[in-house]
């Protein structure tokens, strides 16, 4: 390794030799950097899981226009209702090919003794298959049967094994709020951070489950555009056609992005994750700084000797950065491994969509290098104590 680094740097790898000379300190430093990496990965993983769990329900829809009441429009599941009349008004527009209403409500499912799950219900028209992802087309049609549901295999706190074979020909019965329902199929959505699972039912079944809800006031309206129509233009024209401030019109992609931003910047959980990342970065910088500054302090006389010999400041900067980058590059891998283990364990325990992405791993790797380099540059201040005239 020394020979390789010597060829790479064009000089002796003094930083590497210093780091590896004191094995105990090196191991402690690597453990510290790995720990900071785990902190950052955990927070980023949770934040990513939140964004993913926000995006998954939107992926049920094909990406045309989404109409929602402006009163509570940021979060899909919290949407206030809007008049179904808007659907009919929108259909007048020549570029609107079709539309459908979506009804949403949350309820607790007592699935057994001491077992309850918060379920998000979507009430959909079974014949509205063009508005939903292709994989849902056939299962949606089966919801035409009264009191049937597509149940979420990722529902928390329920053993969903028994629902795996649910089929329209052989519904799996279950009780919900004193109603007997039949699972005729499954979806894999997950409850994310707001609930424990998602069930899809027909709009008619939805109204039986939630008798206070009316077909005249859906939660959302989905609009399909004619081929080639510009969603932005159509949205603007629709907005002008509706009474002011009564409808918010966005593409599904826009709505997804806005809800993710809302969850990350306005909701406490998103802010907690952001602070967690910040704390992880600070912990990493402090640990790397402690190691590097202690290393400089231990070698002040040697550095002063190098100064006396005529080495310039950039040489010392290169040594400290060499140490910082080595710490970051080696400490990253155990951090990555532990984080991957954490993600896998958490995903299996909670069914939240937490997983390592290459983009996140690369970002944290370079972030670690930058953080350790910042620590190294801070530790450089200790070099001022290396005064060559004091050596005599």
């Amino acid at each position: 390794m020394t020979a390789f680094l010597t060829r790479l740097f064009g000089r002796l790898p003094v930083g590497y030799l210093q780091l590896t000379h004191n094995r105990g300190r090196l191991l402690a430093a690597l453990a510290g950097v790995a720990f900071a990496n785990v902190l950052v990965f955990v927070q980023l993983g949770l934040a990513g899981a939140m964004a993913e769990s926000v995006a998954i329900p939107y992926r049920l829809f094909k990406p045309d226009l989404l109409l929602v009441s402006p009163a509570e429009s940021e979060v899909l599941s919290d949407a206030a209702t809007l008049p179904r009349q808007r659907l009919y008004q929108a259909m007048v527009h020549p570029d609107i090919k079709g539309g459908t209403s979506i009804y949403m409500a949350r309820a607790t499912w007592i699935s057994g003794r001491n077992a309850s799950s918060s379920i998000q219900f979507f009430g959909l028209a079974p014949d509205a298959t063009p508005f939903f992802q292709d994989a849902l087309a056939a299962p949606l049609v089966s919801l035409s049967l009264p009191d049937t549901a597509l149940v979420d295999t990722l529902t928390r706190f329920v053993d969903m094994q028994s629902y795996a074979k649910a089929h329209p020909e052989a519904p799996v019965p279950f009780e919900f709020q004193n109603r007997q329902l039949g699972a005729v199929g499954t979806v894999s959505i997950g409850g994310g951070f707001g609930g424990d699972g998602v069930f899809l039912v027909s709009d008619q079944t939805f109204f039986r489950l939630f008798p206070k809800r009316s077909s005249a006031t859906p939660s959302h309206i989905l609009l399909a555009l004619a081929p080639g129509a510009d969603p932005t233009r159509v949205a603007a024209e629709l907005a002008r056609a509706f009474p002011p401030d009564t409808v918010r019109i966005r593409t599904v992609t826009q709505a997804t992005g806005q809800e993710i931003r809302h969850q990350m910047t306005k909701r406490p959980t998103g802010l907690v994750f952001a602070f967690g990342v910040l704390i992880g970065v600070i912990v990493g910088i402090v640990i790397a700084y402690q190691v590097l500054s202690a290393d400089v302090a231990d070698h002040v006389r040697e550095y002063a000797t190098f100064k006396a010999m005529g080495f310039r400041q950039r040489f010392f900067v290169s040594i400290i950065l060499e140490e910082a980058i080595i710490l970051a590059a080696i400490g990253f891998w155990p951090g990555l491994a532990f984080s991957h283990l954490f993600y896998t364990t958490l995903a299996s325990l909670t069914n939240i969509p937490i997983f390592m992405t290459p983009e996140r791993a690369v970002a944290v790797f370079f972030g670690t290098i930058i953080a350790c380099s910042v620590s190294g540059l801070l530790a450089m201040r200790k070099l001022a104590a290396a005064e060559p005239a004091e050596l005599f």
């Binding site: 040697e302 010999m309 005599f392």
Partner: protein
Amino acid sequence: MTDAAISVSGLDHFFGEGEARKQALFEVNLEVARGSLTILMGPSGSGKTTLLTLMGCLRAVQAGSIRLLDRELSSSDESLRIDMRRRLGFIFQAHNLHDSLTARQNVMMGLQVHGRGDPTRQALAVDHVLQRLGLGERLDYLPANLSGGQKQRVAIARALVSNPDIIFADEPTAALDAVSGLAAVQLFKDLGRARGTTTVMVTHDPRILDLADRVVTLEDGRIVNSRHAPV
């Protein structure tokens, strides 16, 4: 180019500020000939180390003049002093070897201060100077595995490996036995004859006074005696 490697005239130096300001050197005048071996002597606090650090470009000149290898230091900035230090070799009483570098690597640093070079030639030069100082069997030893004398010889090798124009040494033989000490000083003498390398050395070692071309004695910041060796 003059015959003097170092020319000091009217040199004053002060430490501290305000009422704590203390003068360490008073009107020092000194010429050191190229290729000579000059020994600075004097009691503790006499100013010999201050003079050595000023001539070695480790401190800025406050008052008076020092010409070093035909460059005036009195108006020099830190960048020029660093450039000049690359032409000098320093041997400190404490060896100051890097504990994580082997003997060979420590000496190699004396070459790498000059930038990238031919690695093979650099390695040969390092091995040669270490062998010359009797450390051929200890090339890959860390300082922790070397005796005090061996460490000091590595430090001497580090100072000599880049063929400096001037060597500044502070008690370089203090950690060496009589034979090794004399051999080291004899090496400085040989370098003076062969390459014109000038050596300025602070020492209290009476065994090597006879090898000096000149012995300069300081007391209270002033040169009180300067005698040349008999021709």
